[in-house]
């Protein structure tokens, strides 16, 4: 803490509370001094501050003390009056305006940082003109009637030697008529010290003798001591230049060099001496004397108990006097004024004890008199006296507070006084480091006048910074308030200045509401003062004002664009937040060796393609050389990290733009910022050029007429809060290194927004190890551009997006290579070989689809080569070049319902084009929606009567939603199984088509036509060609479809491999193909896209039965025998077939006995191999009932059959290998003609997993089934 005397308030008090000298001078004197550009008072002013006057002073006490610092205030007599309020106001305004003009040039710089502000001391933070302003403000209150320190202590009468009759002039000057009114009114004491000064102009040589004569006359008239001579203007030429001009700080309107130009160093010395002498010899002793006199006088009248009581009583009596007369009740001669003068003089002579005691004395009087203004004035002085004498801080503050509030109570008239009091009080608090309190004092004296308030608020704000710890929030708030007030008075410069400082507070916070307000207004104000570019810079911060109301946003934008228009140029703004670019949405789509047929295929995940392409792309890892060598051979080291793209092929960038505002914004000319540098072999050189071009790159883009790449431009409009994904492309037209640096766009044609994708250069050196694993974002945007390569384009024609399961289509894959260089070695891989099958050769279908699938006159039953790999290699001679396009037929069959993504990848090689890229792949992606159609299931059971025949039940359900289907054909696959109808077609399908949701079961008979390798059994009459049956009644001429030839066969093959898992080896399975088509009438609207045929494949249908064996008793059905000769012996043969996978041992026991016991019971249900399956439909049930009863009921003749006996062995046991059969000979003896039921036997079987296994997994006993033999008496 500084000494109170040395604090700024101490200095201020020394200057302001100091003796006043009234100057009276003749016009000629003024004229003399105007040669120097200064008035007389101004000339003397710099020499009125004495820092070490060293005068001994004794006031009331006996103690002598020395006065060190002393100041005189010189005023022309005309100025000794209360200043006009309006004029004072104007002067203050002028001070502010001037200061504002001075700061104007600083406004362009960036706002100060908050840390800088905090580290600065007070003098650096607050503008210097505050001191000056405060001083001026205090001066507006000088010569008030309730205070005495502005009362002139002395009077300086000045007459020039050129004046006529100087002695009379002296008398004239102190004529009461010409004295200030205050002295005449009796407010001030007119009896003051007089001093006479004769001024002699040395440039006026003629009057020199006269001067000395006048001086001596003066001395004789006014007294020797009271007269002085001042010789001046010694320099004849009037061009003296002063180092450190003493007047410069007092008068700034005139250039400093001109001031005092006629005064030599001697002249200045003389003035100095004059003033020193005047102060020390005359003024101080005079004041000293006066203080002593007054003190004595007051002691006599007021001190002591008697006087006090008297005074009190006297004052009580004056109670009824209204105080409306204000201060005028006290003239200078009244006791109260005398005490006040005593106090003020003592204060000015630095005898604060005396001053305080006088003030204390008078303050009670004034209080009793209710002379509030006087009271407040005294309180104020008391506070100051306490402060400067470094006494009780509390007392000082109390007095100031009291004074301030008393002034405030006086209303408007007291406010100015309150302001002065407040300023002093604030200074006092500041001197004691109580900045927060000082701020609140400043806040109190804001008043209503905006300009005044602005200055006070600003001063308050600086106090908040200086508080420890700094109260930055309040600092900002007061600055904003102050700025608003400045703006009200059109002090825009100051308004900007305060807001600029406030920005430093709010800049880094998230208080967006306040921030927007500050930035927006400062922007507007900058525009007012014409600094449009700075205005734009500030306004930009407001654009991202999503949290504001819509109307506010509109105002913001409107004003912003107005200002931008005013600047008349395009502003380029890096990091413009309108619209906002979401970096996470950034996606780069480019083609190196991977090319894409469509956008959809580019968006497919890379891993899908990679897994698909695994076996067609030449692997880097294969071969003798290790991977290190190979990679370095393929790509020079420096390119390893960058992507590769091809000249003429565009690189696409998808990114998302978001509008943060509620109002729609139109964004135009959105394009990428790119740079393409020469591909130089020297790595260093390349790096240099790229870093160089970074600076100039922008110009390159704006004038991109002959640039080495072309950019796409996109315009779009974003509604309020809308997000939009935008695709931008760049197409390089030269080789080199292409870097995508950023994106630029225009807002309403005047603002160019630029967004750099990675403004911070990545630390390339430090994370080299990391780089190997993943690419940094900048690397992803860096491309090595290689020279133009052929690029294959491809599409699949007429691919429907919606189709029924089983739908078979003929498609064409069209491939095209637009470049002149040929491509060769084409290979294709399809993700779903079940769905798509390429034709083996390029040819157009002659009969058209679907007729081409039908059986022609000449049957080609040659089995196709079924072993196909998943990679389809085009014939070697296929090479594409120029305009020729390759049309390759494809077959599509919708295998399963659902949404299917089909991926095609076509690999091709280029000839001798690039060392970096030897092959490319074309990737195509299609997605299909497959609707469910017919669903089939088959059940095959061995026929009860015949060993080679099986019953097939086919269940069909139409799962489609709306369409009905017709069944066209059912085929078995392969030559082994012949198929035949059990019922006429009409009875199976009475309604011809299957309606949606309808289910149907029908029965067929299949027969194993295979020749058993081991046995000689004659082949059945069914030819291998009879593997198909037609299931339609009409269109008899319609041919059956050929299921042996492509593509149905190959699709079947893939279906087989799809279903077939482990039981591939099992030969005992049947595959069916059901061919259906859409019922003709069902959907007439969508003619175009109608499926022609649908094929439904059912594979590996196994023959099912509950027992693992089937058998048949073969023998003659009818015998003729002559029973007269002998009984008849009939040889029979039992064929037993093991239908299981295990090893079967069967023992046959023949039973001779009562036929009743051997007769099968219909209810037992143990009817050979036929097993009844619960049916789905009514129709089915009926059928099965019929069959059941037919089979179950034996003919009536059976019951009366005479017995027969089994001859030969009664029990035979055989082992049968899996899926093989054996024959056992049997014999019966019949004794009379009749019909015999040969069912009296049982088969006991045991099934085990392994041959000769001890334990069996299952076993059972089968009754023989009826087999009728008719034996007749031969003739």
């Amino acid at each position: 803490m500084v000494e109170p005397v040395n604090s700024s308030l101490g200095k201020m008090l020394l200057e302001e509370v100091s003796p006043v000298v009234m100057v009276l001078c003749t016009p000629l004197v003024e004229e003399t001094f105007l040669k120097n550009g200064l008035s007389f008072v101004e000339t003397l002013k710099p020499f009125c501050n004495f820092s070490n006057i060293d005068v001994p002073v004794r006031t009331s006490g006996d103690q002598l003390y020395r006065l060190k610092k002393f100041t005189l205030r010189l005023f022309n007599a005309a100025d000794i009056r209360q200043p006009n309020v309006e004029v004072a106001k104007q002067r203050l305004e002028h001070v502010i305006t001037q200061a504002g003009e001075k700061v104007f040039h600083d406004l362009e710089s960036d706002p100060p940082q908050i840390t800088d502000i905090l580290s600065n001391s007070e003098s650096e933070i607050a503008p210097t003109w505050f001191q000056y302003y405060n001083k001026e403000l205090i001066r507006t209150l000088s010569f008030s009637d309730h205070e005495a320190f502005d009362h002139p202590v002395a009077c300086l009468l000045v007459v020039s030697s050129k004046d006529e009759d100087p002695l009379n002039k002296f008398v004239d000057l102190f004529n009461t008529n010409r004295l200030p009114s205050l002295l005449n009114d009796g407010v001030m004491d007119p009896k003051i010290l007089k001093h006479f000064l004769l001024v002699h102009d040395n440039q006026d040589a003629t009057t020199e003798r006269l001067t000395s004569k006048v001086l001596s006359e003066m001395r004789s008239t006014f007294g020797n001591n009271e007269c002085n001579l001042l010789c001046t203007n010694s320099s004849k030429e009037g061009n003296v230049e002063h180092q450190a001009n003493p007047w410069a700080s007092f008068k700034s309107s005139v250039p400093a060099e001109k001031l005092g130009c006629a005064l030599t160093g001697d002249d200045i010395g003389e003035i100095k001496e004059l003033m020193q002498e005047f102060a020390s010899r005359h003024i101080i002793p005079y004041m000293e004397q006066k203080v002593r006199d007054l003190n004595q006088q007051i002691s006599a009248t007021r001190k002591g108990l008697r006087n006090q009581i008297k005074n009190l009583w006297w004052r009580k009596g004056k109670d009824d006097i209204p105080d409306s007369t204000k201060g005028s009740i006290y003239t200078f001669s009244s006791t109260e004024s005398q005490i006040r003068i005593l106090g003020d003089y003592a204060f000015m002579l630095h005898d604060y004890e005396l001053a305080l005691s006088s003030y204390r004395l008078i303050s009670t009087d004034y209080k009793l008199d209710k002379a509030w203004k006087h009271y407040a004035g005294v309180q104020e002085m008391m506070g100051l006296a306490y402060f400067i004498s470094d006494q009780s801080i509390k007392e000082a503050e109390y007095c100031m507070e009291n004074a301030s509030s008393t002034y405030m109570k006086l209303g408007k008239s007291g406010f100015q006084n309150a302001t002065r009091c407040g300023l002093w009080w604030a200074e006092m608090l500041k001197a004691r480091d109580q900045y927060k309190e000082a701020a609140s004092v400043y806040f109190r004296i804001c008043g209503e006048e905006p300009l005044h308030a602005a200055v006070m608020l600003e001063q308050a704000s600086y106090c908040f910074v200086l508080t420890k710890p700094a109260m930055l929030h309040k600092y900002g708030f007061h600055l904003v308030l102050s700025g608003d007030h400045y703006k009200i008075c059109d002090q825009v410069n100051h308004a900007i200045r305060t807001y600029r400082s406030a920005i430093s507070v709010y800049e880094s916070t998230t208080w967006s509401h306040i921030k927007d307000h500050v930035y927006f207004h400062i922007g507007q104000w900058y525009a007012i003062v014409g600094m449009n570019d700075v205005a734009v810079r500030n306004m930009l911060r407001v654009l991202d004002c999503g949290n504001q109301s819509k109307s506010t946003q509109e105002i913001f934008l409107r004003d912003f664009f107005d200002i931008v228009k005013k600047t008349g140029m395009k502003h380029e703004v890096v990091g413009l937040r309108l619209p906002i670019i979401s970096m996470s949405s950034l996606q780069v789509i480019y083609e190196d060796h991977r090319t894409y047929a469509s956008q959809a295929s580019a968006l497919v995940e890379e891993s899908i393609w990679q897994s698909l392409e695994d076996d067609i792309i030449p692997s880097l890892n294969s071969g003798k050389s290790n991977w290190l060598e190979l990679q370095s051979k393929l790509l020079p080291k420096k390119y390893k990290e960058s992507n590769v793209c091809v000249v003429g092929e565009s690189v696409k960038l998808d990114m998302e733009f978001r509008n943060p505002l509620l109002i729609s914004t139109s964004v135009t000319s959105v394009s990428l910022i790119c740079e393409l540098t020469e591909n130089s072999d020297d790595l260093k050189l390349e790096k240099e050029t790229s870093s160089l071009s970074l600076g100039t790159e922008h110009n390159q883009v704006t004038t991109s007429g002959f640039s080495s790449f072309t950019l796409s431009e996109v315009d779009f409009t974003l509604g309020g809060g809308e997000k939009k994904l935008v695709r931008l492309t760049v197409t390089p037209s030269e080789e080199g290194i292409l870097k995508i640096v950023g994106v630029r766009w225009e807002l309403s044609g005047s603002i160019v927004g630029v967004h750099y994708f990675q403004s911070v250069p990545t630390k390339a050196k430090t994370n080299k190890a990391k780089r190997k694993n993943k690419l940094t974002p900048t690397d992803a945007l860096k491309f090595l551009v290689i020279k133009s390569l052929p690029r294959l384009e491809g599409s699949v024609d007429h691919l429907p997006d919606k189709l029924y399961a089983g739908d078979l289509r003929y498609l064409v894959l069209e491939l095209k290579n637009n470049s002149e260089s040929p491509i060769k070695n084409l290979k294709m891989k399809i993700s779903h070989p079940r769905f798509v099958n390429p034709e083996s050769h390029e040819e157009e279908l002659t009969p058209g689809f679907p007729d081409c699938l039908k059986k022609g006159p000449e049957q080609n039953t040659v089995q196709r080569e079924t072993s196909r790999t998943s990679v389809f290699a085009f014939p070697k001679d296929v090479s594409l070049q120029g305009d020729r396009s390759l049309r390759w037929p494809l077959w599509l069959r919708a295998a399963i319902p659902g949404t299917i993504s089909l991926y095609f990848t076509i690999y091709y090689e280029m000839e001798n084009v690039s060392s970096i890229m030897k092959y490319r792949t074309l990737r195509m992606h299609y997605s299909l929606q497959v609707l469910p159609s017919l669903e089939t299931s088959f059940e095959i059971t061995p026929s009860p009567s015949r060993l080679q025949e099986f019953l097939v039940r086919m269940d069909i359900v139409n799962r489609a939603n709306s369409d009905s289907f017709e069944i066209h054909q059912l085929s078995t696959v392969g030559c082994r199984w012949g198929i035949s109808l059990l019922q006429p077609v009409d009875t199976i399908l009475p309604s011809k088509s299957i309606l949606p949701g309808q289910g149907l079961s029908c029965f067929f008979m299949i027969k194993d036509c295979r020749k058993p390798g081991t046995e000689e059994e004659k082949t059945t009459s069914i030819l291998p060609s009879q593997t198909d049956i037609k299931l339609i009644t009409q269109d008899d001429d319609e041919k059956l479809f050929d299921i042996v030839n492509s593509p149905l066969a190959s699709f079947h093959e893939s279906e087989r491999s799809c279903h077939g898992t482990s039981d591939q080896l099992s030969p005992n399975t049947v595959d069916f193909i059901l061919i259906s088509r859409l019922a003709k009438s069902s959907n007439p609207s969508a003619e175009q896209d109608l499926p022609k045929i649908l094929s439904h494949h059912s594979c590996h249908n196994r023959i099912r039965s509950s027992i693992p064996l089937s058998w048949s008793l073969d023998g003659p059905k009818t015998m003729y025998h002559d029973f007269s000769t002998s009984f008849c012996e009939i040889k029979l043969k039992m064929v037993i077939r093991n239908t299981s996978d295990g090893f079967l041992s069967v023992s046959i026991n023949t039973i001779d006995g009562l036929p009743d016991a051997a007769a099968p019971t219909p209810s037992s249900g143990n009817l050979s191999g036929w097993r009844y399956v619960p049916a789905i439909t009514e129709e089915m049930k009926l059928t099965s009932d019929v069959m059941g009863s037919r089979l179950g009921k034996p003919p009536p003749s059976m019951e009366s059959s005479p017995p027969f006996i089994w001859s030969g062995s009664s029990s035979t046991k055989v082992q049968i290998q899996p899926l093989s059969r054996t024959e056992i000979p049997l014999q019966i003896s019949v004794f009379s003609p009749g019909v015999y039921n040969l069912c009296s036997y049982t088969l006991t079987w045991e099934l085990s997993e392994h041959e000769n296994a001890l334990s069996s997994t299952s076993s059972g006993i089968c009754q023989g089934y009826p087999c009728y033999l008719t034996v007749l008496q031969s003739e």
Binding site: P469, M471, W511
Partner: protein, 145 residues
Amino acid sequence: MQREEERKMIVCVSVVGHQNNPLYIQSFTDADDALKLHHVVHCSLDVIEERVNNPKTTLNEAFLGLLYPTLNYKVYGYLTNTKVKFILVTTDLDVRDTDVRNFFRKFHAAYVDAVSNPFHVPGKKITSRTFAQTVSNIVGSYGLN
């Protein structure tokens, strides 16, 4: 009449995070004085900081009391254990302490509910509509009992 309306009225409530970032600020006046209230709340942070960092007194309760008497408003503060500040601005010039305490207790409960939402990101603005509704209910019921 107008005085009667203004008598017990909360004009602004706010939640400020421990880094002095606004988490929630809502004014309840018809006039367009949001900016002013933002400033008032922002300024009162200084007072809270001063109180919290004052080494002489230790805070033994969350309620901070009257922070900041301005010409038209009174500002009250409340500090949670997680250094989240609640600030209340009222035009009620003769406030009962219990009313304010009650208010803050309810407000704190509402705040805890809002930040317990698993979708709330700590340190981000509170966007919950339920919270806003609860707060306006609390504000509406202020001083009624």
